[in-house]
Symmetry: C3
Subunit: 303 residues, 3 copies
Amino acid sequence: MVGLADLNGDEITELLDRAVEFRRLADERALPSPLAGATVGNLFFENSTRTRNSFRLAAKRLGAETVEFTEVGSSVAKGETVADTVRTIEALGVDLMVIRHGSPGVPHRLREFVTSGLLNAGDGTHEHPTQALIDLLSLRDAFSQEGTGESLAGKTVTVVGDILHSRVARSNIHGLRALGARVLVCGPSTLLPRQLPGAEFFTDLDAALAQSDAVNLLRVQFERQRGAFFPSPAEYYRLFGMTQTRLTRSGRDPWVLAPGPINRGIELSSEVADGPRSLILKQVANGVFIRMACLATLMEARR
Amino acid sequence: MVGLADLNGDEITELLDRAVEFRRLADERALPSPLAGATVGNLFFENSTRTRNSFRLAAKRLGAETVEFTEVGSSVAKGETVADTVRTIEALGVDLMVIRHGSPGVPHRLREFVTSGLLNAGDGTHEHPTQALIDLLSLRDAFSQEGTGESLAGKTVTVVGDILHSRVARSNIHGLRALGARVLVCGPSTLLPRQLPGAEFFTDLDAALAQSDAVNLLRVQFERQRGAFFPSPAEYYRLFGMTQTRLTRSGRDPWVLAPGPINRGIELSSEVADGPRSLILKQVANGVFIRMACLATLMEARR
Amino acid sequence: MVGLADLNGDEITELLDRAVEFRRLADERALPSPLAGATVGNLFFENSTRTRNSFRLAAKRLGAETVEFTEVGSSVAKGETVADTVRTIEALGVDLMVIRHGSPGVPHRLREFVTSGLLNAGDGTHEHPTQALIDLLSLRDAFSQEGTGESLAGKTVTVVGDILHSRVARSNIHGLRALGARVLVCGPSTLLPRQLPGAEFFTDLDAALAQSDAVNLLRVQFERQRGAFFPSPAEYYRLFGMTQTRLTRSGRDPWVLAPGPINRGIELSSEVADGPRSLILKQVANGVFIRMACLATLMEARR
């Protein structure tokens, strides 16, 4: 699975249901081994300890062996193309490959070169499909627990922050729309794209919050940002940081998602991060099960 | 287990006995899998290939899956607190966590944030409980082999070197005292603390050796030392280095421990390191079994 | 196994046959676990993601646990000798050790210090025995598929490139000769040794090709080369790069091996690398099975 844009609502729901089933089996310490005898390549051309560990653990718990590959920086500099690196790892006997790469479209393009099942773990500013599935499942859990039913249809979710550069935003918007939710995006006007089909634009967070059942707070990526898109972290926090005051003022008590790692005092206050509406740690826990569902589904498609 | 100071003599003896039992079963290639289905997080905020491998191997051999995390330098610099990192890893589905951190007290403090079982793999200059257990077991094996019984009661052990900054020294002294041994500490006066309950101070190694059944040679950590605590490595070796001449001169033939990695020609001569009284490689072998005992005990406490 | 020079033709053939057997069982998803309960140390004092992964995967698929160790640069700088590092890792309970080191003869010398089975994964410019076995098996497969029988006896193989510094060349020449092949070496005269028993020297690639059933294209190691052994990559490509024109001109359609990672446009053109005579990805796939054969054979020798 290279992008969430390839999947319709039914296919997304099937993956979420499957993740819930793996979660139930894990709780009962009765996980099956649908990947026994299979090898999963974990190829990170851009590093991420937490996402890598989540995929690795999902693969191992379902019985697979893993091959880890990290290439920070360009492999072209060492004289090997990305396609050659990936084909070489496939030749080791890999059945499924998880790929993260800094350039948009790389996993898509690699489909011409390999026959293994491909799972996109984030490609530049393009897509991050498993993160979106995690967010959808965490929202479904939360709404269901609230007694309003697990359906996302008719709910309003606001994605906050650097919409322009975020693959999480892009995949989320597609997934939320496919499940019938209304999507608002809100951030500094310098970090909003010119257009984004399916999303309504806000630059005033309080106005967006007044209509939201949930908010998804994108990470401010100081390590990536080159330009000066906003004056300072303090300025960002004042305008777009989620505080308890702001949540209460909205009169709607929305659920709070954040793909992390979070910056306390920038995207949100500690009170919100550790508060009763925060789904942050539940997102991490769901991550392993979403990845199990994707790996198992991809493996079946190959057999 | 966060520190050896939490355990009394009986509890320490129980862990040593359990390690011996795992060692016997490993020799018979009949190790059980008390950690089957469990996940152990191996969190090293300060790197150590050998300690990390020892814990990982202990966990895997008892049937666990592991999650590896290395963060050299401050994670606060990347905007995430240590508590958030640890809670995120726990949320992946981790049951037990092994934690090494450069600051004293971190594992202790993390108990407020996580519900997983915590095992301290070294916290700054504070404690390194599994290393102390390894040293105790290696001494018990040696005394037992000598025919004087495995008890440490009444034996005299000298810890040599940088007592001031050593977590190994601190954990060792507690463990040795709890099992009834007399403890001497010996090193340059600049590297001795002002006071250390339970230990007798020496600056003359020969005087300490004349009363010792065993010596534990702390590693000179050139990579950490900032000040000038002793004039030169040669000077250190002349005053505190263990040589065969010095061992013979003591008239007691003491057992030699060293937590390693050793510096030949600084803490000890090659003749001593490779000699019949050296327990260095036995300490490494016991390390895996001590860690098995700690992990299995911690897992039972959680169930 | 420290070098291919230790093995005669029958012993080499036995390893190749065993690899083929593991390959057949893997295809049937019926691999046995001859290394169950064993621990394999993967010690790379010089880094190589692909070779390390190949050994690790071979060990894991046969049921072993692995201990990974990477020490780039000199461990002596940290005060520990290579022998101490290796003995410490062995003491963790390791049964077999895979060792790559930048200095020729290190695995050979380590035999004095450890009792584990040792497998050389490349020692400086000396030997790289498993790569040679991979090349032999890939050639045997290719000749067999061609219908000329799998025997290498009477075949002519040309090794092209930096013969002077290549451990792959050295191991290949021994293996090819042991199985009855004729060996030509071809490269810039600055990169040919003064003498090389068993090989015939060429500096004109077309002359060598006119007599060859296969060519083995050594990697140009820009990262290692200190002197100026040839004017420029373009010059190298013009004289020694394998192109389709050159292959066709030879009138022999030789098989093409390359131990990789390949530099497209330097050792060979993309057309050749991806062409029907290229064995490059088959070499990678055979790598895992050759390593399985070596590990299993070494383990039996120990029991």
